[in-house]
Amino acid sequence: MRRVLKMIRAFAGTGLAALREIFDEAAYARFLSRVGMVSSSESYAAFRREFEEVKTRRPKCC
């Protein structure tokens, strides 16, 4: 039973991590730790500015 719960937790954790990556939340967290800032409207604006170059050049398929 404990093993099953552990598996479910691991599965859910990976799913959530994938969603956080797809939705750029993980990228924002990395940005905050890299530049030593806390989450605020200024730091998010700075993140978006830095990320814009990479993110908006990303093609999306048909």
Partner: protein
């Protein structure tokens, strides 16, 4: 014991797959259950992944788990980043799965369920998954280089230039076709138009929320946005029932086309955080949820397919688009089988996140298999409808007539009975005024999806809500591609123009932003306008053009892959990419020939121009004649360019195999990974 057990399991899976494929392929007469398609697909994917991708990994690519990837060597916390393989898988799948695997199979269902299903299964396992996998691995071994850079390095300058032009051409044609699908789905539909219009203030609100109220909480705000979108769908029914409001949100196709062009321009020129990024998040949120829901719905309902295995339209006289099963079925379905566009994603963000080379198999081959499964779901959604209803929705007025009774009589005369009353009652059930002549694939998919959802999750009373949910889902998807695609194309044009006049290359210089945005929107807007004004519904001309352009890009990607495989001294295994390449060349060149020179005016651009030129002239006719000649010229230019890449690649292959050329791949040098030691 263990080995024997696994052999038996795989023999059972292969046997079950063979039976299911056989049932799908050979069954005639009585309708077939959709579960046969699901089982056939599942078994084909399992066997393909376990054995074929393993063969490619071991014998050709020699994946090396000890070789450091660019994500590790060049890690910078931005684009280069070591990431969990399942996370990369989700990320890659979210990028490759667009509306293509939904719309293409729905359109190709006019041939019956069999051709589309077989092409999706065989195309994915032997071509699409292989292309995505090898291009991803080759990009990983080249510091995450793009397809155009790899083409330049491995084939030569011609390859790089053609890949660059093909990408821009595909983007422009794709954006025009995508916008046309939205226009056809929303014309004369106040409910759908209201819902989509509401997604714009919702996206703006999400942008402000993300920036000012809860910075960076994207999942949270996407969930909130999703709830607001559901409220907009719910509210749409009241708008459609209110006379004044319904009038306000009822637009003709040309008006919608102009509105979408204005939207595309602003979305490209506005700051990303305000409209583009929140909309992208909202669309992805809806997309992943809906695909999962559709899979559950199909398994729960396991509906019967009413469309026959093969229809009479395999002879090329189909009303949805003209042209014989070969080559047109194979360019109509791209994304679910093989899509050149995927090579851009496989050589874009994904290779910069892969932690170990061995993971490229699961991400590249596996994610494409998942997309192929989405295409199978789309085939099921299209084929659960009665064929008469399918053709009534997808046939343009130019073929079946404008009046419901006449259209129903024409379609019934083809052997697919349908009445105007049936269509009226279906339109009423989904909250629309009419479902006749709703070309483009999106409304038909929405009806199929609403059928599956309402029969498995919620009952008939929710049919209208599910239909508009499906329309919103597709339109949101497509509008996201429009604004992201316009921006990507703008950057590419700015990069090129920067070589001519430096300030034009600056992505922050507003005159350049406005000029290049207008240029790109004008280019795809031209194709959109052409489609809107086309008496045959636009899709008949533009979808094949898009399919040809997309598959020609796949041809370039497979040329790059074959060249690298031969340079790696694996020429004896080059058939793995050469066979799909040969198939694509046969398909795309034949399709291009037909689209340019076929004597049937419904198929050949030039034949249609000739027929129109022989009749009475009006300004509209002159425009249609010009458009047909332009489409023929665009097709011709693409074919000539890809021929150049083929010739250049073949020269490389012959030179290397005969020993006249040096076989030197341009890979990054081997560096041993530290990740294994860390794990140890």
């Amino acid at each position: 014991m263990n080995k024997t057990f696994f052999v038996l399991v795989w023999v059972a899976i292969a046997g079950l797959g063979a039976v299911a494929v056989g049932a799908v392929a050979l069954h005639r007469g009585e309708p077939i259950n959709a579960l046969w398609l699901v089982v056939a697909a599942t078994c084909c994917y399992a066997v393909g992944y376990r054995f074929y991708s393993n063969f490619i990994s071991a014998r050709i690519l020699a994946l090396d788990g000890l070789r450091a990837t660019p994500a590790e060597r060049l890690e910078n916390g931005r684009d280069f980043l070591v990431t969990n393989k399942w996370v990369v898988f989700g990320h890659h799948f979210a990028a490759i799965a667009g509306p293509g695997p939904l719309v293409g199979p729905v359109l190709a269902a006019q041939f019956g369920y069999l051709p589309g299903t077989m092409w999706v299964l065989a195309g994915a396992v032997f071509a699409g998954c292989v292309q995505d996998f090898v291009i991803l691995l080759f990009s990983v071994r080249r510091d995450g280089k793009s397809l155009t850079e790899m083409a330049k390095d491995e084939i030569g300058r011609v390859g790089g230039f053609v890949a660059y032009v093909a990408v821009i051409a595909i983007l422009i044609i794709l954006l025009g076709v995508a916008a046309l699908i939205v226009v056809n789905a929303l014309k004369a539909s106040p409910w759908g138009t209201f819902t989509i219009a509401m997604t714009m203030p919702i996206a703006l609100l999400m942008g402000v929320y993300l920036r000012r109220i809860r910075p960076g909480k994207v999942l949270e705000v996407s969930a909130l946005g999703f709830v607001l979108v559901l409220a907009a769908i719910w509210g749409g029914q009241y708008v459609s029932q209110h006379e004044a409001m319904a009038r306000l949100f009822t637009f003709s196709a040309p008006t919608l086309a102009i509105l979408i062009m204005i939207y595309g321009f602003f979305a490209s020129a506005l700051p990303v955080w305000l409209l583009l990024a929140p909309r992208d998040y909202l669309s992805t949120f809806v997309k992943l949820g809906t695909i999962a829901l559709l899979a559950v719905g199909i398994v729960l309902l396991h509906p019967t397919l009413h469309m026959p295995a093969l229809t009479r339209f395999v002879d090329g006289t189909g009303p949805v688009f003209a042209g014989r099963i070969f080559p047109f079925a194979f360019i109509t379905i791209a994304c679910g089988a093989i899509s050149g566009f995927h090579a851009l994603i496989s050589s874009g963000t994904t290779p910069k996140m892969i932690a170990r080379e061995t993971e490229t198999r699961m991400v590249g081959y596996g994610a494409m298999m998942a997309e192929s499964a989405v295409a199978i779901m789309a085939i099921i959604a299209a084929c659960v409808m009665q064929p008469g209803i399918y053709f009534a929705i997808n046939s343009p007025a130019g073929i079946v007539g404008q009046a419901p009774a006449a259209a129903a009589a024409t379609i019934s005369s083809w052997g697919f009975p349908v009445t105007a009353a049936d269509m009226q009652s279906l339109a009423h059930a989904v909250g629309e005024q009419t479902l006749f002549n709703r070309t483009g694939g999106a409304p038909a998919f929405a009806v199929g999806m609403a059928h599956i959802f309402s029969h498995s999750l919620g009952g008939e009373t929710l049919m209208a809500l599910w239909y508009h949910f499906a329309i919103m889902f597709e339109a949101l998807f497509i509008l996201t591609i429009l604004d992201a695609g316009t921006r990507v194309a703008r950057f590419m044009v700015q990069d090129a123009l920067g070589h001519v006049y430096k300030p034009l290359g600056r992505t922050s210089w507003y005159p350049s932003i406005l000029a290049t945005s207008a240029l790109i929107v004008g280019a795809w807007g031209y194709f959109l306008w052409q489609g809107v004004k086309d008496p045959l519904g636009g899709i008949n001309s533009l979808w094949p053009l898009f399919g040809i352009a997309n598959q020609l890009l796949a041809t370039v990607a497979l040329c790059v892959a074959t060249t690298i495989i031969i340079k790696m001294h694996r020429a004896k295994y080059a058939a793995v990419t050469l066979v799909p390449l040969a198939w694509l060349v046969a398909v795309t060149f034949t399709a291009s020939w037909h689209k340019m020179f076929d004597a049937n005016p419904r198929v050949g651009f030039l034949a249609q121009a000739r027929v129109l030129a022989a009749g009475p002239m009006s300004p509209a006719t002159v425009r249609v004649i010009f458009n047909n000649r332009l489409d023929a010229a665009v097709t011709g230019v693409l074919v000539v360019m890809v021929t150049l890449v083929l010739v250049e690649s073949a020269r490389q292959w012959i030179g290397i195999v005969s020993g006249a050329r040096e076989a030197r791949v341009k890979e990054s040098p081997f560096v041993r990974t530290r990740l294994v030691e860390e794990r140890e």
